[in-house]
Symmetry: C2
Subunit: 200 residues, 2 copies
């Protein structure tokens, strides 16, 4: 319906999560209306740069500008603690807290038989190597809940049963500030089971 | 916080309407996760093509792949009716209805003293030329409501007062299917004023 080049841009916006036909049209026409010539170059180049210049830390697998990321190359952190996450983005979310002083490991996925994601498809070998070779005392899983996370953690636990290592997992519970009306039953049940005594 | 190339992509997504920091991060990481190599090229090229290949119809000013758009080059339509719209996109929305058989004129904006948009900044000269040279009998304004639309229509009406031409405007009213709870008072007032007698 629209000219071809506009249609193409719309189709590209539709590849993004949560963007359907109507939103994509709105975005494409806003680009046409508001972008100056440099904006087009910037956007276009930034896409190509994400493809071509993104590196992954050779130790923890987080996205990085260098072969070994800032965190892994910082020797002053606590070598006994390793947080395991699904995605690179999670590392940055936790780092923003500013109070975790250990290291990270990015799996780039969770085991999911339904989606045909097997242990070989995610970044597990290097995790096992790190447990074998480093002095890690605790693996802390910081992932979304669900069958995939359960399966992944169980699998890792089994593979590491010969090692003297604590495997822990973030608490599920009611988000701070959340309205009780919007808490699902699984979360509420978990929050109840993990209740804490109120001390003086 | 993120690597530079990811940050750049995030900043570019933030130039789009309705996309803030959090959404832009989500989009950038979804690109990194889900795009294959060709997807990056497609998206990047489609942006550049929108900048470099977009033409505007030399008659009605709608975006077009040709110097004169499909509609203006179709001589079988009704030359007496001209719909005036703010943006190219509106032409496609009306064409989708499939029952308007006249021609269009795209203003590319509305007069807005607050935003320093004067009559010279929008595509009015060519509208007046068309009225002078063609056999247009009715100008139908299909625009959003508001001071800018009122000002623009009033200005055009004044400039064309010597011509024997009807100037009309789409009806405001309650959108079909809309919940009464969400109708603003101005719309409700307009819908009441424009009420129609229910005939047998």
């Amino acid at each position: 319906m629209f000219p071809n080049n506009i249609n193409n841009l719309i189709e590209n916006f539709k590849k993004l999560p949560g963007i359907g036909q109507k939103s994509a049209e709105r975005l494409a026409f806003s680009v046409l209306k508001n972008f100056d010539s440099d904006d087009y170059d910037d956007f276009s180049n930034s896409l190509i740069s994400v493809r071509d210049d993104t590196k992954y830390c050779s130790i923890c697998n987080v996205i990085s500008e260098t072969d070994v990321c800032n965190i892994c190359s910082d020797n002053s952190r606590n070598h006994e603690l390793l947080i395991v996450v699904e995605n690179s983005k999670d590392v940055f979310s936790i780092e923003k807290l500013g109070n975790f002083n250990g290291y990270y490991h990015v799996l780039d996925g969770l085991i999911s038989p339904f989606d045909d994601i097997t242990p070989d498809d995610i970044n597990l070998e290097s995790l096992f190597d790190r447990v074998k070779n480093d002095k890690i005392k605790e693996l802390i899983f910081v992932t979304r809940s669900g069958v995939e996370a359960d399966t992944t953690i169980l699998y890792i636990k089994k593979m590491l049963e010969d090692f003297d290592i604590v495997i822990s997992r973030v608490a599920n519970g009611i988000p701070i500030g959340a309205d009780m009306d919007y808490i699902d039953t699984l979360t509420l049940e978990s929050a109840l089971n993990n209740r804490k005594q109120v001390l003086d």
